[in-house]
């Protein structure tokens, strides 16, 4: 019984966390209160469901408990403000919707509140990840190269701003929608990247993240069918998702993109991505996500020709670097240069990035550097770079892969 209660709460958290937070936040105008109330409701569910059985509609049960907790918490917090009329209104509003069999989905409205122009641009994406997908500050911090404590403070400040400034929870008018879309897309992509980095699905919260991000991407496309960047992002995610099964061999070891068996790629997802990308490109507004999807498309060419279109990939990364100025893009560009112009040219492109201090702790930089040094024949320097890359990697399968590469390089020398 205890195990069943725990399994059900975990399943509900996975399935409905963001939907429940969005539903509560939209009604009380306070993200933090919604999150706190919901986590108290989940804690209550663990003991109540074990003792009294699992309710027919666990989500409705959680909303009812969270609603009571939220009213209590807001009463405590707003003691100095005009609390009474606000609380009555809130209780009525929550009660009127609580009985609905199907809870309305306010996740998109919540995302747009988090991406509001009155919120600091740098915190919008992390905020969406936390509120809609339930990420903790440490996980978000590692994805955005910020310390967990600093990320936690910035998230708390942003949530307080939403409540105090009266930022609305609704999908903005069409004119504003376009403006705010970029922040929403960035967050969806960051969520996808997080799920992507955990192919074995070992962590419950991250297991469905890539699928969740694709779901969010589809939702935005259905709302904004004429927005090429939303379509471009969906194409990008589908291209990457198509290769999920090819990223590990039979022993569970990591297989890099360039060595994957194209026969293992999901042809259906690739076809859908290509159709989307073509539709987006006809809308005449090329930007970051369409370019990144086009890079994936140039890799997918290998199914037919046996070799990725590296010249196209290099050109696309040139354009991407101009738009984003991102060091991560620059690393990929250096790898593409090595493929078209040789390892020395790739290393020269990497060397230009060394001034960026953030890269010192960024695994892909060291892995790329190690591979390029190895193919240039500079074994000692490659060995040191592998050492760094292995030390920084958190995925055991990738770590093993890097260790094998390093050992093979040294073996070839002896």
């Amino acid at each position: 019984m205890a195990r069943e209660a725990r399994a059900t709460t975990e399943a509900v958290a996975r399935r409905s966390y963001g939907k429940l937070v969005a539903f509560l936040a939209a009604r009380i105008g306070d993200v933090e209160a919604a999150e706190d109330a919901l986590s108290e409701a989940f804690a209550a569910a663990l003991t109540d469901w074990e003792a009294g059985g699992i309710p027919d509609n666990p989500e409705a049960w959680l909303v009812t408990v969270a609603r009571r907790r939220a009213v209590d918490a807001v009463r405590r917090r707003r003691s100095g403000e005009a609390a009474v009329p606000h609380l009555q209104l809130m209780a009525e509003e929550l009660a009127s919707t609580e009985d609905n069999a199907s809870m309305p989905d306010h996740r998109l409205a919540l995302m747009f509140a988090c991406a509001h122009p009155a919120i600091d641009p740098g915190i919008r994406a992390p905020l969406i990840l936390q509120t809609v997908l339930g990420f903790d500050a440490a996980t978000i911090g590692s994805a955005f190269l910020v310390s967990p404590a600093a990320m936690g403070q910035r998230l708390a400040r942003a949530k307080s701003k939403i409540r105090q400034a009266g930022i609305p929870f609704r999908v903005p008018e069409r004119a504003d929608l376009r403006e705010r879309l970029a922040a929403v897309l960035e967050a969806i992509y960051a969520a996808f990247a997080e799920g992507w980095s955990d192919p074995d699905g070992t962590e419950i919260r991250r297991r469905d993240l890539a699928e969740e991000a694709i779901w969010l991407g589809r939702l935005v496309v259905s709302l904004l069918p004429d927005e090429p960047e939303a379509i471009g992002l969906l194409a990008l995610m589908l291209h990457a998702e198509a290769r999920r099964g090819a990223r590990r061999n039979a022993d569970g070891d990591y297989v890099p993109l360039t060595e994957q068996d194209p026969a293992l790629w999901d042809a259906g997802l690739i076809a859908e991505a290509e159709t989307l990308l073509l539709a987006a490109s006809r809308m005449g507004k090329v930007d970051r996500y369409q370019l990144e999807a086009a890079v994936q498309s140039a890799h997918a060419v290998r199914r037919a020709t046996g070799r990725a279109d590296w010249a196209a990939i290099k050109r696309l990364y040139d354009a991407l670097e101009e738009i984003t100025g991102s060091p991560v893009v620059a690393i990929n560009r250096a790898v593409a240069i090595a493929e078209t112009d040789g390892p020395a040219a790739g290393l020269a492109a990497l060397a230009a990035l060394e001034v960026d201090g953030r890269l010192a702790e960024y695994q892909p930089y060291w892995a790329a550097r190690a591979a390029l040094l190895a193919s240039a024949g500079d074994i000692d320097a490659a060995d040191a770079a592998y050492e760094q890359a292995i030390g920084l990697e958190r995925d055991p399968a990738v770590r093993r892969f890097l260790q094998h590469r390093r050992a093979a390089m040294r073996g070839a020398m002896n």
Binding site: G80, E81, A82, P117, A118, Q164, G166, I167, P168
Partner: protein, 115 residues
């Protein structure tokens, strides 16, 4: 919710403006005030005399200290305000963007702490 729209502008720039420019700005403020009244969101609004007319008061150890001039010396000075009642920040921001002062200086939008 109530929001205070604080209008900041460059007083020196205003003083050197031509008569025609000032008249045009006053007409714009007149139309804006009519619109905000007509929408039923206006609670109060006032224009302030120049910051050179300001006095700043502090009380420390039971003694009142009065200084000539505004609290903070800034490039742009507080010139007036509109207090409005609207549903949310988006509505407050769109009224702030319509304020003629937004074209000359800046409008700070502050939610009122309801008591």
């Amino acid at each position: 919710m109530q929001y205070l729209l604080l209008i900041y502008g460059n007083e020196a720039g205003m003083q050197s403006a031509t008569k025609a420019d000032v008249e045009q700005m006053m007409a714009a403020y007149g139309a804006y005030t009519q619109a905000i009244k007509g929408a039923g969101v206006l609670v109060a609004a006032d224009r302030l005399k120049p910051s050179t007319s300001a006095s700043t008061v502090r009380v420390a150890d039971g003694k009142t200290k009065v200084l000539d001039g505004p609290y903070a010396e800034t490039k742009e000075q507080l010139a007036g305000y509109y207090l409005i009642e609207v549903p949310d920040l988006d509505a407050a921001l769109s009224w702030a963007a319509r304020c003629p002062g937004a074209n000359y200086g800046a409008i700070e939008v502050r939610p009122i702490w309801a008591m």
